[in-house]
Amino acid sequence: MIRYAYIIPFLPLLSFFINIAVGKRLPRKGDWLCLGTIAVALAMSIGIFYEVFRAYDPNFRYHLVFPWITVGDRALLNTGILIDNLTAVMLLVVTIVSTLVHLFSIGYMHGDPRYSRYFAYLSIFSFSMLGLVLAESFLFIYIFWELVGLSSYLLIGFWFEKKSASDAGKKAFIVNRVGDFGFLIGILIIYATCGVLGYDQVFLAIGEGKLSGTLLTLAGIGVFCGAIGKSAQFPLHVWLPDAMEGPTPVSALIHAATMVAAGVYLVGRVYPMFTPDAFLFIAYFGLITLFLTATIALAQNDIKKVLAYSTCSQLGYMVMGLGVGGYTAGLAHLTTHAAFKACLFLGSGSVIHAVHSQDIQEMGGLRKKMPITFVTFLIATLAISGVPGFSGFYSKDMILGAALEFGMKSASPLHMIFFIGALFTAGLTAFYMFRLVILTFFGAPKDHHKFDHAHESPPSMWVPLVILAGLSFSFWYSGWFGTLVQKPKSVANLAAISAPAKVATMEHAAVVAPAPHAEVEKTPHAAAPPVHGEGHGAAPAAHGGARDEASHDAHIAHKAHSIAMYSSVAVGSLGIFLAFVVYSFGWINPDRVMKAVKPLHNFLQNKWYFDELYEATVINGSKALSRGLYWFDLHVVDGLVNLTAQLGVFVSFLVGKFDDYVVDGAVNGLASATTGSGSVLRRLQTGKLYHYVFVLAGGALIIFLIKAF
């Protein structure tokens, strides 16, 4: 099965071409075609995963490489696919969610004038995403990177008659391009120094020290810039909320489960090349993002906006997790998040489908009307809030643990901020998610007209919900995931880097005992990975060097994780409780809280001050523009983007003028000078004979005098 893996991406591509060409004329406008191809892809992914799972080897690697561009006699660029455990998992995630979204869309998009084109777009997206997952080299992940950008552009702007929609699409693409610019620079640095772009080749070269020191850090940050753009990390997260202009299933698929996670996947994919400095950089951006966006999410009333910001926030978790060394944690959260966030979005989709509104202020009490949606939604919410037993708890807890561990081992106490921030945000998450649930499903309906028309969705829509909800329990993931997806050893040549020594040692400690050779050979088509080889070479030394320290670290890690678990459970439940207190039981009237605490905030740090005003602004949605985090978000960051855009336009305007008047002017000036001198000379031709004779005599004389003396 795995030897046919390269076929997987082409299935959706096929359906894309067919649907774009003749989709309209096909029965049912070709939706079955797209659904079928993706389903086949799903089947194959399951097969692959099964093989990988049976091998059960942390270092499982399957390579399929052949030259793509040959200049002169040597191949300069290769193409191919790389399958290891992470890939297998990602394949599974992408195909599952994609299939379910296809299914869901059949109901959701029913009757849309561009129905077939919608499915075609879904297919091209699936193609790009699968390609991105399977890609074997930096260049090809970049290629599919752009392609998912394209499909996201197409799907966000699917209802392009709405100016807001087309705006959002444009914004998404351009903001991503900004990130890709960094990505490109990173790739260029790598190629210029290593001369290759395949992951393993690059890691090998880096191991040989071809690329090291600050340049390596820069390359890592450059690559991470791509992730910033794609995974909507601060400061480029502004496009994601706008992207909600697209159809809701699209939001579920692209802007919650898969594409936005691609950034995280990228970081995980190239994990070994990051230097500690780069990691710190990554971690900080993750932290800022998860906190910032969570605070914003607190006060949104648009159901999809809330979910969008929560997505940003969760992505922040993953990025931070990876940044602080929680490789498994981050990727696990990616996986679990894909399931429950997709479930949430689809649930919101079915709600919107029912009440034809996205404003939670107009909902309420829907649990009676649409029980299945409610239950599934609730499960997913519990998952995201990190309630034990649900998938979210499993992964988020790991991240918190990693953060705490990092903080404890790190030299500077400042690094505890990762744990604290994350923990606090976990509470916020629980709070705003349950606020959402309560306002939507509990209490009394606020808009009876809408309420009366609400109804449960058709099976094609709730079946996916059920499946995804089912996947939101932790038992699916616990155990094997931690074993199969393990942190690869860093190949960065750390000699040149002045990083806290502890970080480095921590990374060494994290290396698991390399699997025996036999197993590696057993794995079908497995090329012994250089990373692994490195492990052979360096790991014993590392262990010999720091065995006792390793055990010490293990102890700390254990302690950290247990602390993290309890605290996160506590905070999570606190958040949930508060949500009920405020929005359900009505013990505390939110408005009264507002009034009560407003003076207090004047004595507190700006942040809280902004949070509250932000609440106010969302309630009557206009005053938001000038103050608070939202102010920060909307004006400073987005403003920066717009500003740069405007700057670009302005500069280009100037340049245009420059071109018209100066450059071109010079030419025309030359011309006019020519004609001008012409008219001057022409005036010499007076028509007066004696002038002519005079010129004759004078000319002769002058020539003579010049020559004679």
């Binding site: 002038h691 005079f694 005599a697 004078g698 004389l701 003579f704 004679a708």
Partner: protein, 177 residues
């Protein structure tokens, strides 16, 4: 040779140049024409001194007898006799004068400074020689000159012949322009 010849030479030179200057500056064109006459005569005198008897004769005949008369005719024809003053205004004097003076300086300096291979001039009749040369060596120019004179003759005749049709046509076109 001495005294008298030199005297004659200087006299002729003075007449030639003086008259030429008068031609250049005299305000009245008739007077200028007369001055030109004297200048030509002076040149003829110089020819005599240079033992160019035939030339001297031709000079008198053609210039004095022909060209001057032509000029005078032209003067009269090209001025309305009715208005008595037949003036000869000038303009553009200073630059012209400047150029001419410089030119004169250059020419005479070149003349004086150059070591020409001067021989002692001898006085012999030239008519026979010229006649012979014109019939032998310079036959072709002689013949060509005849063609040239023919063309000039026809031209002069053509131009002086009134051409009413054409002139009418011309005016018509002037009108159009």
């Amino acid at each position: 040779m001495s005294g008298p010849a030199d005297f004659i030479f200087y006299a002729a030179a003075a007449v030639t140049v003086g008259a030429a200057i008068l031609v250049a500056i005299l305000p009245n064109i008739l007077y200028a024409a007369v001055a030109l006459l004297f200048s030509f005569a002076g040149v003829a005198g110089l020819y005599v001194l240079l033992s160019a008897d035939f030339l001297a004769a031709t000079q008198i005949l053609v210039y004095v007898g022909g060209i001057i008369v032509l000029l005078l005719f032209a003067v009269f024809l090209s001025n309305r006799i009715s208005e008595a003053k037949i003036t000869n205004p000038t303009h553009f004097r200073l630059p012209a004068a400047a150029i001419c003076l410089v030119l004169f300086g250059v020419l005479s300096y070149a003349a004086v400074s150059t070591p020409y291979a001067v021989k002692k001039g001898v006085y012999l009749p030239t008519t026979a020689d010229i006649g012979e040369l014109l019939m032998t060596r310079y036959l072709l120019p002689f013949e060509v000159a005849s063609v040239l004179l023919l063309a000039a003759l026809i031209g002069a005749a053509f131009l002086s012949r009134p051409d009413r049709a054409a002139s009418v046509k011309g005016e018509m076109e002037e009108g159009k322009r």
